[in-house]
Amino acid sequence: MTSQPGRGLLHLAAAVDLAGTLDAEPYLRLVRLAEHGALDFVTLHDTFAAAGPDSLSVLSRIAPATSRIGLVPTVTTTHTEPFHVQAAVATLDWVSRGRAGWRPDVSPGDDEAALVGRRQPPAPADLWHEAGEVADVARKLWDSWEDGAEIRDVATGRFVDRDKLHHVDFEGRTFSVRGPSIVPRPPQGNPVVVVDATRPYAYDVAARHADVALVGIADPGQLATARAGLRRRAAEHGRDPDELRVLAALRIDLGGGERTARPGHGGGPLPTEEGPLYRGGPVDLADLITDWHRRGAADGFHLTPLDPRRDLERLVNGTVPLLQHRALFRTFYPGSTLREHLDLARPANQFAALAQESS
């Protein structure tokens, strides 16, 4: 039962951020390592003006060289075109054969606005409102092609059944999109939406639109409360709360030894500006993950290593085998898509459902 997080298998994800790295190879080594550990997905952070290649490009480059692991780039919604954003994410799903997600984020900086000739960005609440609208229109555009729209009917000369293609006619506060998408419905139906729910103003976007919500809270009791709150809010938006995975977001510094200087995981992670930071050895991290998972604090963990090359290696070779030994984490990928790893259903098409209701 996914509503009882302490009982099911947990989900693990890791960030593979390598500041300023331009070549594909170092990213590929990290993603392959994470895939070796059977992690659900990797994330790659980005901003509109980050140094280095954009994260969706990097993970597209990685996709053919990996086979199972989910690929989740950050894609910003403030100074970008919603139509292009959804097409690129759908295409990442096609080139990875069903392993794509995306992590919408906003661009609150004046420096980012200046790159597109805007004097200043809108207020943070408005930015996240828009991000929610982009997540919404992205799903509509992914659904604007029904499954099986391509019919290749030689007798009538028709390549598609146009009754299965839909205008979305989306009217947002700051943009509108007519549709349909240029890209056929991606393998997962809807690529996975990952939202940092602890970001200011992002909470409701997570409850409404996220398949996976990341919550950075250092205390497992408070985290469990936050998880329950997100699930409740999702239900208020008419969603099945079991279709939302809540992952504890931790920064990790696995240092040099097997165990932390203090025995056990001590006081647990420390709250910092950038979220809870866990310092300790890989064995202690396994103990902490086991403990939090049994207490029902979260459905899994999203870990951001301070030193990706060192910490990811220690995570995969130290922490993961222990969790596998305790039967808390998979030893291989039974599925091939990111939704399958996350035990999330392939979503029904919202337009196909409408068509059925009205017939």
């Binding site: 003006a49 290649p53 480059r61 990685i62 000739g117 999109v177």
Partner: protein
């Protein structure tokens, strides 16, 4: 010197992924997926096996519509180009990777960053086909919305490319300040200068504005294929415009988009070519093509009967997303005349006027004709448009490429690693404006 081969112009070859018009025959049993990555991988690997300069993807921003509904007779739908090309960078090593990105429905900062990303991640193989189309119909999918005046299209595109190059030149730690008519940009490019300096810029278009824009700013011009004489005239005109921009003739390559059909004999190839044209122009497609010119519903006409006597009605908006420019009255009259003179039906007329392949014959015939086109200064090479996905390039690479190599007109191995090196383009000097 013992070499007896006269010095020949080297031919450049590129592969166009079969697109969403009726050139692509989806009814053929050999026709595979237009969206699965395996199709892109097969074509790109085939192009690289043939030592092609680059692989080319067109762009889709709005599904075409006809009579208010999505056009359903041709291939519909495609992936987003840059994402596919980054993935192809993982399964190829030398092949150039060209994406079409519109200058109207994008912003220069983001576009420059995405091409710099592709160039870094592919080790210097990125190319950008700049297109300038703009209409209210496409604009309905975008923040910017509607229409851009035809003259403004090229000034916007020129400024767009200029800003992108400023950003590529600046790299990191050196802010760009640009205050122009269309764009105001201040800030750091974020990404270091790409391996090629500037990704290769391709421009498609035969109009006077297009030629001038290409002469000023492009590395490759993607043009239409015509007769040898027409090709020569175009070639001389475009190359002649370069000096005024301080450029040399070899700084801009002219590459017409071409189709081809191969056979064991020339006669067999002609027969195959005629069969492919019949596949491309189905009865439904023949009526549709006519409606695109006439601008009115012609569904009551028999595709195997005579052309309509009624005159076209211009600008009815019957077909959206693919515009017929020029004089529709003259075009309709020309088609009627041809139909009367040769006794052709609607479908036969459309086949005759719209879909004749560029090169038809044995591999030897096609190699000789292509070489003559290049040596005769009607082109620097070709962008091949196969009619089948994904196997449409296989025979060309296996049969024609070796003959071009035999003639001393095509490389026998990649000499460099970057697309600029394949195309013989120099690395641009960095101009730092800030």
């Amino acid at each position: 010197m013992t070499s007896t081969l006269p010095s020949r112009k080297a031919i450049h070859l590129a592969a166009h992924f079969p697109g969403v018009n009726n050139t692509t025959v989806w009814t053929d049993p050999g026709s595979g997926s237009q969206i699965d990555f395996t199709s892109f991988e097969h074509l790109a690997r085939t192009a690289e096996r043939g030592l092609f300069d680059f692989f080319f993807l067109a762009e889709g921003l709005r599904l075409r519509e006809h009579k208010g509904r999505v056009h359903d007779l041709d291939v519909v739908g495609r992936p987003e180009s840059l994402t596919v090309l980054n993935a192809l960078a993982a399964v190829t090593e030398k092949l150039g990777l060209a994406a079409t990105v519109n200058a109207t429905f994008n912003e220069p900062y983001e576009t420059a960053r995405r091409f710099a990303s592709l160039d870094h991640l592919s080790g210097g193989r990125a190319a950008w086909n700049v297109v300038t189309s703009s209409d209210a119909f496409t604009g309905e999918n975008f923040r910017r919305g509607g229409y851009l005046d035809r003259a403004d299209r090229y000034t916007r595109a020129a400024e767009f490319v200029d800003v992108a190059r400023q950003l590529w030149d600046a790299g990191t730690g050196r802010p760009v300040r640009h205050h122009g008519r269309h764009f105001t940009i201040e800030g750091d490019a974020g990404v270091p200068t790409p391996p090629q300096g500037h990704p290769v810029v391709i421009q498609a278009g035969d109009s006077a504005e297009g030629r001038e824009f290409a002469a000023a700013a492009a590395d490759v011009i993607f043009t239409r294929h015509g007769t040898l004489e027409a090709g020569r005239a175009f070639y001389a005109d475009v190359k002649g415009r370069l000096a005024a921009h301080g450029r040399e003739p070899e700084d801009l390559l002219i590459m017409p988009g071409v189709t081809f059909v191969l056979g064991d004999t020339d006669a067999e190839a002609q027969e195959k070519a005629a069969g492919i044209r019949r596949q491309q122009v189905s009865p439904q497609n023949a009526i549709l093509t006519l409606e695109q010119v006439w601008g009115v519903d012609l569904s009551s006409y028999d595709p195997d009967g005579p052309l309509p006597d009624i005159d076209p009605v211009p600008d009815t908006g019957l077909s959206q997303g693919r515009t017929h420019r020029g004089d529709v009255f003259a075009l309709a009259e020309k088609w009627r005349e041809l139909s009367r003179a040769k006794g052709l039906s609607i479908r036969q007329t459309v086949i005759e006027t719209t879909s004749r392949q560029s090169f038809i014959g044995t591999a030897r015939t096609v190699a000789a004709e292509m070489d003559a086109f290049v040596q005769g200064d009607a082109a620097d090479g070709f962008i091949l448009v196969p009619h089948l996905t994904p196997g449409g390039l296989d025979d060309f690479v296996d049969q024609v490429v070796p003959l071009l190599q035999e003639r001393g007109a095509f490389r026998t191995e990649y000499e460099g690693d970057t697309l600029r090196s394949h195309l013989g383009l120099r690395t641009p000097e960095r101009t730092l404006t800030a």
